[in-house]
Symmetry: C2
Subunit: 167 residues, 2 copies
DNA sequence: CCTGCAAATAGGAATGATTGTCAATGACTG
DNA sequence: CAGTCATTGACAATCATTCCTATTTGCAGG
């Protein structure tokens, strides 16, 4: 709520990008933008919904979802963790890291002696105990890239309504 | 399906741990163990279910879930990505990393010049393009640790049925 | 300032993933 | 070999998310 310059800058960027994308700047979108821009904790749709609801009692959760994904598709927010969907299990107990395709969800392990010894800043300890540490690399896997090439568009970062649904 | 020594070793570990934990080694559990132990891709419950169904046409998806979480609670498998639940959005576009509490889902950003320049093994490129790279640190946050201390047990890694449900 | 239309919204139903409930079944102990 | 309790399967329930659709609204022109 204390509008720092960082937050105002984000908000301005959201509005500019929305305008540039030719989408309408509705009251509900502006409120959702404000909420997301000022979030420090990484909120889920429900949280944003509850917060926005205070000022705009009639917003629908659906609109919050659509606006959040709009920001995502415009490249203005990211999602925490790989593609949602279902919980996935990892039988590999050795230290390792993950490559995850943001299109199809393909996940592969890789190892790196260098990364295994990475030093985590002391400040992190103030958040809590550290149990595991690993690197998550995201990208578009070979299979999905081939599919994109076969279709029309080349290898762009996932955006647009259709890019969201896959597992 | 080609039972490598690694896989056989995992399987043996699962059975030993299950026995040690005093849970029964049922036919369905053994099949699910086998399936998980031999998985290279990180499967979700559905995938394991479909695979096990071939040999055991009557298994229920419920049993697969229960067994998967059993393995998880015994510390024999991990989950990919932070605690499931809902998609969470991140308005921070600067390079940064995440600390995530495995109990309550609290997520915090941290930065590290050292980690920002980490080198990803070339082999990863064979999986596909690399769009983002960041470190995910998991642990138990201060708040949850305090709660645990207040209750009975001290600061153990999340295990047991109750440790799963929170957001 | 008024009008029309495509885009956007509210709501509620639908979907997919996951978990809870409970009676029947089966794995081990004595 | 029988009894007991964990385990299972079927199904209902829940949660997050998306779909559908009638209604409303932002905004370009007149």
């Amino acid at each position: 709520m204390t509008d720092s310059p960082e937050i105002l800058s984000r908000l301005a960027r959201y509005q500019a990008a929305a305008k540039a994308a030719g989408v309408k700047l509705t009251h509900q979108r502006l409120e959702i933008f404000r909420e997301v821009a000022s979030s420090l904790e990484h909120p889920d749709a429900e949280s944003v919904f509850r917060a926005v609801q205070i000022r705009l009692p009639t917003v629908s959760l659906d609109t919050v979802y659509r606006t959040l994904w709009l920001l995502h598709d415009l490249g203005l927010v990211a999602t925490l963790g790989p593609r949602r969907g279902s919980v996935r299990f990892d039988a590999n107990l050795e230290p390792h890291h993950h490559y995850v395709c943001t299109r199809c969800g393909l996940a592969r392990d890789f190892t790196s002696a260098e990364l295994d010894v990475m030093r985590i800043p002391d400040a992190v300890q103030t958040f809590g105990s550290i149990v595991t540490t690993h690197v998550e690399v995201r990208g578009v896997c070979g299979g999905c890239a081939a599919k994109s090439a076969a279709a029309g568009q080349p290898d762009l970062p996932p955006s647009g309504q259709e890019a969201r649904r896959e597992t």
